[in-house]
């Protein structure tokens, strides 16, 4: 445990949807170059928590957040932090693949060009290729870069979305049930990709699929009704949980 480097430190994080207290004073440290899986029954707050990490909850007007999310020593909820730049550094992949209605090339190149990471031309081409390669989809699309991204299969679309996220060169990638809409073969590819990606990025993923968490996650956090019940190494959580609720959930007694 000692060699784990803390990437994100969450301190006393509370969140309200209007009057509803949805997250109750969470404290958790997420580690660099690890995959952390957030598990728990529906409505437990795991996705809400995930969206706190790149301030996507700011888009919902009724949401109020208190507490700190410190990333690389800076609280992203500080007044002098621009949420747009937070999202640039903390990428996100969604449950439903959502490629833009543009060409595959443009899907990947769009954000880096806007952010000024690259200029149009060979630099951009290179970045697109590199991102698509990292997302493990280059060989499938290299000849159809001009085709619309929406024409790909679901699993390919999701890998395109990952490529799109990587292209911005984030530090952290948040994944919100990235495989729940996909078939088993596509899921396997994405899982393999995640294991590959953790070498460079810190990955935090929400999943409904316990086996998936067990297969790929280094750390697992179990949420229930807005509380963080237990957080430990995945092996420990699955084999020897300390909390009764965790055990009940993992053994399928509720969920």
């Amino acid at each position: 445990m000692a060699k784990n480097k803390v990437k994100i430190a969450v301190k006393d994080l509370n969140l309200w949807y209007g009057d509803k207290h949805a997250l109750h004073g969470l404290n958790i440290e997420l580690y660099k170059n690890k995959i952390t899986a957030l598990i728990g029954p529906s409505g437990c707050g795991k996705s809400t928590f995930l969206r706190c990490l790149n301030r996507m909850n700011d888009l919902i007007t009724s949401v109020r957040v208190e507490g700190e999310v410190v990333i690389d020593g800076k609280n992203i909820y500080d007044k002098d932090v621009d949420e747009v730049s937070v999202r640039k550094r903390i990428g996100m992949v969604f449950q439903q693949p959502n490629p833009f209605p543009k060409s595959i090339y443009e899907n990947v190149a769009y954000a880096p060009l806007k952010h000024g990471i690259v200029k149009k031309g060979s630099g951009c081409d290179e970045l697109v290729e590199q991102s698509l390669r990292s997302a493990g989809i280059w060989n499938e699309v290299k000849d159809i870069l001009k085709e619309p991204g929406t024409g790909l299969s679901g699993g390919q679309q999701q890998r395109l979305c990952i490529a799109r996220t990587i292209a911005v060169k984030p530090d952290v990638i948040l994944m919100d049930e990235p495989t729940s809409a996909l078939d088993p073969i596509s899921t396997e590819k994405i899982e393999a990709l995640m294991l590959e990606l953790k070498k460079e990025y810190t990955i935090i993923t929400v999943t409904h699929n316990m086996q998936q968490a067990a297969r790929i996650a280094d750390m697992t956090a179990f949420f229930h009704l807005g509380d963080l019940i237990e957080y430990d190494e995945t092996e420990k959580i699955f084999i020897n949980p300390t909390q009764k609720k965790t055990e009940d959930y993992i053994t399928g007694r509720f969920g």
């Binding site: 990333i71 800076k74 747009v84 730049s85 550094r89 952010h115």
Partner: protein, 388 residues
């Protein structure tokens, strides 16, 4: 800026500014649209409000044989140019209607000429010097007054602006719209019922659908060409009549009624139909006794909206001649008639300044009617709205 702030990105400043400007641009466009609406309504109210009152002059009217021979002798000569010709012309008629007036002299408030009215309302006017002196004296003696303009609501068109009103155009509108709805309502609803309940998915129903869609997009003036070529030239129906106007508008209103009635029918859930079939009812029975009654409020709403559309339409009616000069209200659909928007069009083209306030006032009347109709439609929709 904090040097430790790893999220500090100076390039974002420009992008945020752009984002803000974009938002302001969209807000600005919305505000501009609403300001247009406000300016427009305010302009009509300002221009039309003075028509609420009309100027009258207190003069002595003598009812005798000379007045019958020439209305010019009914009042003192010096007042002649200040009074409404059209109103004076009515004096012989008054005697005819009420013979006991004969041989009497009465001090009455007589309708003033439109130029006097314009003078009293402080608009541009044209009155010659001699008459001006008489008028000023009358004003000083309190013999000139503005009274509520009943003429506007009780008279038809007139060549004298002060004596013209919206009534015959209003009656014409009612007759025309009656024809329109009598034709468009049954055909429109029947078409909707056919398309929604009976037609099968084939080239014919698809063709019908495309056709109705296109019909809705054809410029209204072309319906006027149809009315002129078919109703008047081929069928020989009377030009300028409410019948021809109504039939022309009926074809225009048809697509609106079909589309909204279909939406109303579609909102009746399939379970109602299935329940009917399960009771052994035929398709016609299910539609007639169960689906149509449930969809009826929605169908009515669509019809009212179609009616409001037809009420404001002018161009095709001009083509079929409904801009005739109509001083007396028509009594049948075969007579020459005009409608409110066409009346407004005629007035707007008149050179006399006094017609402008009447046009604006007529516009306010027309808009109030349209707003009432649309509110009725909204009310009906709200009242009978059923959530399935």
């Amino acid at each position: 800026m904090d040097k430790n702030n790893i999220f500090y990105d100076p390039s974002l400043k420009r992008r945020h500014l752009k984002s803000k400007l974009f938002k302001y641009f969209t807000l600005f466009s919305l505000v501009v649209s609403l300001v247009f609406l406000a300016i427009f309504l305010l302009d009509m109210v300002l221009k039309g409000s003075s028509a609420v009152q009309q100027t009258y002059i207190q003069v002595e009217v003598s009812y005798n044989q000379e007045s019958i021979d020439s209305y010019r002798d009914a009042v003192a000569k010096k007042y002649l140019n200040l009074l409404s010709r059209a109103a004076l012309r009515e004096i012989p008629n008054q005697i005819q209607k009420n013979p006991s007036l004969m041989g009497t002299k009465q001090v009455l408030w007589m309708l003033a000429d439109d130029q006097v009215d314009m003078y009293m309302k402080e608009y541009y006017y044209k009155i010659d010097e001699k008459d001006m002196k008489t008028l000023e004296e009358l004003v000083k003696n309190g013999m000139v007054d503005k009274k509520f303009n009943t003429i506007f609501f009780t008279h038809g068109d007139s060549k004298s602006p002060e004596y013209s009103g919206i009534l015959s155009a209003f009656i014409g509108t009612i007759l025309t719209l009656a024809v329109t709805m009598l034709v468009a309502f049954p055909i429109g609803v029947a078409t909707a019922v056919y398309l929604e309940e009976f037609s099968k998915q084939n080239w014919w129903s698809e063709f019908l659908e495309i056709n109705i869609n296109n019909l809705a997009a054809i410029p209204s003036i072309l319906f006027g060409l149809l009315g002129l070529a078919i109703y008047i030239n081929v069928l020989g129906l009377p030009r300028s009549s409410a019948l021809v106007g109504g039939l022309t508008l009926a074809l225009m209103t048809l697509p609106i009624i079909v589309v909204s009635s279909r939406a109303a029918l579609r909102s009746v859930p399939a379970s109602i139909r299935q329940a009917g079939y399960a009771l052994g009812l035929t398709k016609v029975q299910v539609v007639k006794d169960h689906v149509i009654p449930l969809a009826f409020p929605g169908i009515m709403t669509g019809n009212i909206i179609g009616l409001a559309h037809a009420m404001g339409e002018t161009a095709p009616l001009i083509i079929v001649g409904m801009i005739a000069f109509i001083p007396d209200s028509p009594t049948s659909v075969m007579e020459a008639a005009t409608v409110m928007p066409a009346q407004l069009f005629t007035w707007a083209g008149m050179p006399e300044r006094a017609y402008i306030e009447r046009t604006a006032a007529g516009i306010l009347v027309l808009l109030s009617l349209l707003i009432s109709l649309n509110s009725l439609a909204v009310y009906l929709r709200k009242k009978f709205e059923v959530k399935w």
